[in-house]
């Protein structure tokens, strides 16, 4: 057997056995009425769970909100991350330390990041309110206001995951071959031309994959939404959290995850088509 197929088979078998079978099981269960609080009832109901999902306006609301969060956060994280990566790829005093420091937010346990920002924005003893009261704005009440709490959710995500984008891109930049840059120096190209004509095209594969990965992870955004906003702007994960964990309606949860997976699959296919089209 050829080595490429051997390796692919091992990797795929591994993924299928640990993730795919549970997922198939959840599709199967989506056609049944199955609530964990009434474990004796297990009845085939056809597409009833799907009908219920598509008739629920909260589903569409959470879909819209998830996309809004994802697009805003991804844009900020990508631009900041690319900027930081380019900046830290330069040779300057103390850059070694900076490259380590920039990675620290990734290392913090995400639950801790949320508690930290929750404390910073707390109404009775947070630093944000201290600043706004100095500025004469008084207490803003970050958690209760739907818009402010959404900004906070994006801020938490940006703080924790911009370093992820920055580090992946920085490693890519540092790994680029030196020859094109030396040639550009000989030709006397401007910094801007070097960036658009050399750096950006060579980084394209990494940029595309980091955009896809971050986008898919943002579609799963849960912890900060759950712990900060009290659900005034629920995301898709928050929606499934409510139906699977709160009501223990496994059948409905299964229908939801099937649809969710389809949406993510379609989006990633589109993104990937673009990626493959522009590959080299």
């Amino acid at each position: 057997m050829r080595i490429e197929y051997l390796v692919s088979t091992i990797v795929l078998l591994f993924l299928y056995s640990w993730l795919f079978f549970p997922f198939i099981y959840s599709i199967y269960i989506s056609f049944f009425e199955y609530v964990l609080t009434r474990p004796d009832v297990f009845r085939f109901v056809g597409i009833k769970n799907y009908v219920q999902l598509f008739n629920d306006h909260m589903f569409y609301t959470s879909l819209t909100i998830t996309f809004t969060y994802a697009v805003i956060a991804l844009t900020i994280e990508f631009l900041l991350g690319l900027g930081i990566a380019l900046f830290l790829s330069k040779d300057m005093y103390g850059v070694g330390i900076m490259r380590i420091v920039v990675g620290i937010p990734i290392l913090l346990v995400p639950a801790a990041t949320t508690i930290l920002w929750k404390a910073l924005s707390s109404k009775t003893y947070g630093i944000f309110d201290l600043i706004t009261s100095y500025l004469g704005l008084g207490s803003l009440g970050w958690w209760d206001d739907p818009v402010l709490s959404s900004i906070l959710v994006i801020l938490v995500d940006v703080w924790q995951w911009t370093p992820f984008v920055a580090i992946v891109l920085l490693a890519a930049i540092l790994g680029l071959p030196k020859e094109p840059y030396e040639a550009a120096k000989v030709d006397g190209l401007s910094t801007y031309t070097v960036f658009t004509k050399i750096t950006l095209p060579m980084l394209r594969p990494t940029i595309m994959i980091i955009l896809i990965l971050r986008f898919l992870d943002l579609l799963k955004l849960l912890e900060p939404v759950l712990l900060i906003t009290k659900g005034s702007y629920p995301t898709l994960s928050m929606y499934v959290w409510r139906y699977v964990f709160k009501s223990l309606n496994i059948g409905f949860g299964g229908a939801f995850s099937t649809i969710y997976w389809l949406i993510a699959w379609i989006l990633a296919t589109i993104l990937l088509r673009i990626f493959l089209k522009y590959r080299i």
Binding site: L19, P22, A112
Partner: protein, 276 residues
């Protein structure tokens, strides 16, 4: 000419300072909170230094609540799953970058689709699966699931790093009689060390901090540190900011130490025998 250089240095320092403040101030605040008593955390205005610094939160976390076993569990799970995920991602990424074969993009895309699955949606079937196999509340279960979740990131990001290395460098060595495997181990791996370190760090941290799956799939023997934190989130007197900050720092410090040393060793280990 001279003032231009000065100007550039000033701008660079300014950007450095902005990045440092943006990243370090919240962390500073975490340390600040961890050293305050519950009462002091609830005073207005909030103080930038603890008036009466106390280690009561650290003592509570480590001794009263006995958090150390959970931290050790987290380490075992994160180390095991990162090793497994990298062990499978590295050859997969290399092969995807260097070979053309039928169905390659379908295979790669299938791998990526596993990143779509929302943990909240697969956790219930996984729970039943784990119960059936007798793997509930074990390190093995979390190691397997975390590596499966992280393989898509590992494969795709590493592939993009391998793509950057010109094929010609490898071909030159293979003409000199190096086997494909030897070229990969001696030439390609060292050349992509920066990327491998970055992805190692990210995968390790992702497994280390995972909360939702660990919370549902462990109860005691394999309970991880984030789950422990989740349980101590609130007490009858309110949100435990001090305790949670101390716990967060306890979890953060060993991670920073590991990465600083891994960086050094991995760089040295991989550069050994490399071309440049």
């Amino acid at each position: 000419m001279e003032w231009q250089k000065v100007f550039k240095n000033v701008i660079n320092s300014l950007i450095n300072i902005i990045i440092l403040v943006w990243i370090l101030f919240p962390l500073y605040w975490l340390v600040n909170m961890s050293l305050k008593s519950f009462g002091e955390l609830r005073t207005w205005p909030p103080t930038f230094f603890p008036m009466q610094p106390t280690f009561v939160n650290y003592i509570d976390a480590l001794i009263t609540l006995n958090a150390l076993p959970y931290l050790i569990n987290t380490f075992i799970v994160a180390a095991g799953s990162t090793a497994l995920a990298l062990g499978l991602s590295l050859p997969m990424a290399y092969i995807a970058s260097r070979f053309e074969f039928r169905g390659k993009w379908d295979i790669l895309f299938t791998i990526l689709t596993f990143r779509f699955l929302p943990p909240a949606a697969i956790v219930i079937p996984l729970y039943m699966f784990a119960r059936t196999l007798g793997l509930f509340d074990t390190h093995t279960l979390l190691i397997m699931i975390y590596s499966a979740i992280n393989i898509p990131i590992g494969t795709w990001v590493l592939m993009s790093y391998f793509d950057e290395i010109p094929k010609e460098i490898e071909e030159a060595y293979m003409l000199d009689g190096y086997s494909r495997l030897k070229t990969f181990l001696k030439i390609t791996l060292p050349l992509s060390k920066t990327g491998i370190i970055a992805i190692f760090m990210i995968l390790f941290a992702l497994s280390y901090g995972e909360y939702l799956l660990a919370g549902m799939l462990t109860t005691s023997a394999a309970k991880t540190f984030p789950v422990f934190m989740g349980e101590r989130w609130e007490s009858p007197r309110g949100i435990e900011y001090g305790l949670l900050s101390a716990a967060a720092i306890i979890a953060l410090i060993p991670l920073i130490i590991i990465f600083v040393s891994v960086r050094k060793h991995l760089v040295r280990g991989l550069t050994f025998g490399a071309v440049r």
